[in-house]
């Protein structure tokens, strides 16, 4: 093939080069050393496996470097591996077989890496081997004779130190010059020589490893090393006591950063969004258009961007832990805990992160190769009580759960116990759901859990940043647009139909109603509350809030709330609570704000002490329509909390589930199942609570 100077003018067509190798071989580092930033990131057709392509030019020839998912063998065990194999064999729809293959081979682990390499060489595509991690190998007393290896394998072997760009130009030269390899010496004979008594599945591995053992003899030289670096680090990291302590500290750091460190960043984003909204409010006249832009589009965009800090921080940690080799150790340490519910240790970090927010947690499930475990983890993640549920719990606990000590212990109080129980409830329901799902929908043979514990190494800052950028961008471009569209639709549902006359009539009847109740009320506190509410109606802000409340109650969402009243009645809820539950669908954290609007308080900041107190007072004095019976009692507050602990009232989470599973079936199934669970949980809570209390 003519790829030299003459080829430049004649063949502007880019050369497609597949980059293939075992996981943990420094493949990503090599990709960025060769091609820099990926020029195209997408999904392979029909699967949720990420496709990454980088274009670079070498010696005048454009080259498209396709990063294939890491794989251990050409007999694929997961969708990731299947994509790699299909692409290599030219069996992937719409994608021709690559022109060249670069096999990444880890010098510290040559024996096992050559298993895949020998299979790829056999395919016969022009192949180059990039021998990575030579520096790490030297630290471990391993030396590889690349020239001799090249001779024995029948294809070019180029040693590279990708982080320092050593050997990269030579590798690029070799890619252009690569020829189809000759069949490796003795491989066919070694495969034929395997004892035919061995089971057929074992024969290939036995034959190939027998051949590899002969290939590396004399090629790999080892110095005597009493205890390798890996030995020393592993002795601590997987130690019964120290390993557990270190693990707990690491997870604490991960969780703290996504739970608390992200808070000021998220507040900053909210602040920025509010500022933009303010500017627009100043520019546009009041009306439907302004409301669409401010409450629909800007608020919607804000609700997308607000997730970015948590996603970026979590992926920063994942990339860091993966880069140094701790991610698989963490899975190793936690495996026993999760195996009982049918998962593996790899689900631990995604599920832990979900206590901060399900969205980064669901995205973190990308680190789970096994498709069944990954899907199950994605489905269980929203059951972990996220930080958006916390304000609901806190408000309800402080307002309606008596602050009494338990069992005579002064520091152990009932609200704290309720709060802890809600967190436990999510975990227990998730464990039960996993137990049931692995025996029904996800029934099947046990999935292999054979996990490499890669050698310890320094994480590459470039790879870490690339990983963060990739995750953030894939969220913004993939899920962000859908979330934004959904916010606009939900805005419309809570603003239409608009009937100003009916709103005024409702405000007037509210006033009459309050007056009537005030006259017949004997309880002093209630009198004060009612008088305050009545007085507020005479202030411009109070009147505006009352109008907004009435408009929302008359909107499609409000109507839906009234419509579902028979369904929420057994939970002890009135239709306003039904409305609030439905209106919290855009994002759970708006539920308190929605309650504020529905109870005529306008935009109350329920998170602040003052706003919270006002809302609590209003909720405490709320009564059923046309009666003096209070809406909020202890059983009702508990049933609301249980409902929010278990429901999937979060549009963004559902969109991300859809995006990560590549199907609308799973978000729909997840929403339906969780809503039923939440309803049943709230029903039992209310009915049992009422029975015990009354």
């Amino acid at each position: 093939m003519n790829v030299t100077a003459a080829g430049v003018a004649e063949s502007p067509l880019p050369l497609t080069v597949a980059l293939l190798g075992n996981p943990n071989t420094g493949k990503s580092t090599l990709f960025s050393a060769l091609a820099g930033m990926p020029t195209r990131v997408g999904n392979y057709p029909g699967v949720t496996v990420e496709e990454k392509v980088g274009r670079f030019v070498h010696a005048g020839r454009p080259i498209d470097l396709v990063d294939l998912p890491g794989t251990y063998s050409l007999a694929p065990k997961s969708p990731d591996e299947k994509v790699a194999v299909d692409l290599l064999r030219g069996r992937l729809a719409g994608m021709p077989a690559p022109d060249r293959v670069v096999i990444v081979v880890d010098a510290t682990n040559l024996e096992r890496n050559l298993y895949l390499a020998s299979q790829v060489i056999e395919i016969g595509l022009p192949t180059v081997i990039a021998l990575t991690l030579g520096d790490a190998a030297a630290d471990r007393g391993i030396e590889v004779d690349a020239a001799e290896l090249s001779r024995r394998l029948g294809c070019e072997v180029v040693p590279v130190v990708a982080p320092r760009r050593q050997g990269i130009p030579r590798l690029a030269d070799a890619i252009l010059a690569a020829l189809p390899p000759r069949q490796p010496e003795g491989l066919a004979a070694a495969l034929a020589a395997v004892d035919p008594a061995q089971p057929p599945t074992a024969r290939e591995a036995i034959g190939r490893y027998a051949w590899i053992e002969r290939v590396i003899e004399g090629v790999v030289r080892r110095r005597l090393v009493a205890r390798t670096i890996d030995d020393r680090i592993d002795a601590v990291v997987t130690h019964r006591v120290w390993g557990t302590v270190l693990f707990a500290l690491t997870m604490l750091a991960v969780f703290t950063s996504i739970f608390w460190l992200s808070a000021p960043l998220m507040e900053g984003i909210s602040f920025g969004v509010d500022a933009v909204a303010e500017v627009v409010v100043g520019l546009l006249p009041e009306g439907a258009v302004r409301s669409l832009i401010v409450d629909g589009v800007i608020a919607g965009a804000g609700s997308v961007v607000v997730f970015v800090p948590q996603i970026a921080l979590l992926f920063f940690w994942i990339a860091l832990l993966e880069g140094c080799g701790y991610l698989s150790r963490a899975a190793f340490l936690m495996d026993r805990l999760l195996v009982g519910v049918g998962l593996s240790g790899k689900s631990f970090i995604p599920l832990l992160s979900s206590f901060a927010c399900a969205i980064p947690g669901i995205m973190a499930a990308r680190t789970i190769e096994n498709p069944r475990d990954r899907l199950l983890t994605i489905l269980l993640a929203p059951l972990m009580s996220c930080s958006a549920r916390l304000p609901v719990y806190l408000l309800m606990c402080s307002a309606f759960v008596p602050n009494v000590p338990l069992a005579g212990i002064p520091w152990l109080r009932l609200p704290a116990l309720v709060l802890a129980s809600l967190y436990a409830l999510g975990v227990i329901v998730a464990a039960l759901a996993a137990f049931v799902l692995t025996r029904t929908v996800f029934r099947g043979p046990p999935q292999p859990f054979v996990m490499e514990l890669p050698g310890w190494r320094w994480p590459q800052p470039r790879i870490v940043l690339e990983r963060v950028r990739e995750a953030t961008w894939s969220f913004l471009s993939g899920a962000g647009t859908t979330i934004l569209a959904m916010s606009v639709v939900l805005w419309a549902l809570s603003h239409y139909p608009r009937d100003e006359a009916a709103v005024e009539a409702e405000v007037a009847s509210e006033r009459t109603n309050l007056r009537a109740r005030l006259e017949g009320e004997a309880d002093e506190a209630t009198v004060a509350d009612l008088a305050a509410a009545l007085e507020a109606l005479d202030t411009p802000e109070g009147l505006d809030a009352a109008r907004r409340g009435a408009a929302q109650r008359r909107s499609f969402l409000g109507l839906a709330g009234r419509f579902i009243e028979p369904v929420v009645r057994p939970l002890g809820w009135d239709w306003r609570l039904g409305c609030a539950a439905i209106a919290s669908f855009p994002a759970r954290e708006v539920v308190l704000g929605t309650l504020g609007v529905i109870y005529n308080l306008g935009d109350v900041d329920a998170g602040s002490e003052e706003g919270g107190t006002v809302l609590v007072r209003r909720l405490r004095s709320a009564t059923w329509d046309g009666s003096r019976r209070k809406v909020f009692t202890l059983p009702v507050a508990l049933s609301i909390m249980v409902f929010f602990a278990l429901c999937a009232q979060c549009a963004s989470t559902l969109v991300v589930i859809g995006r990560e599973t590549g199907s609308w079936v799973w978000p729909l199934a997840s929403f339906s199942a969780m809503t039923v669970l939440a309803w049943l949980g709230a029903l039992v809570t209310y009915q049992v609570g009422t029975f015990l209390g009354g």
Partner: protein
Amino acid sequence: MTSLKEVAIGSTAKVELITGSDPTSERLLEMGITPGVLVTVIGAAPLGCPLELEVRGYRLSIRRSDAARVAVFPSVGQRSTWAGATSVRRPLPR
């Protein structure tokens, strides 16, 4: 017949055969646990499972239940101090 599950922590055993032909057995073979290879049990997770192994010069983690399908010859002894010396058939490097 002894399985890898029964090999004491810190000991090395020589693999006799891998039972079963499902994806798990296949993966164990592909990862280099083939008849004749030396496997060292480095340790176990704090909760007793999974196991940390060293085979062909690298570290691998498998569950005890999967270790049961790796039949081994009685223990060869303590782990070799040669980094990655894994096969008895290969002469020790100088």
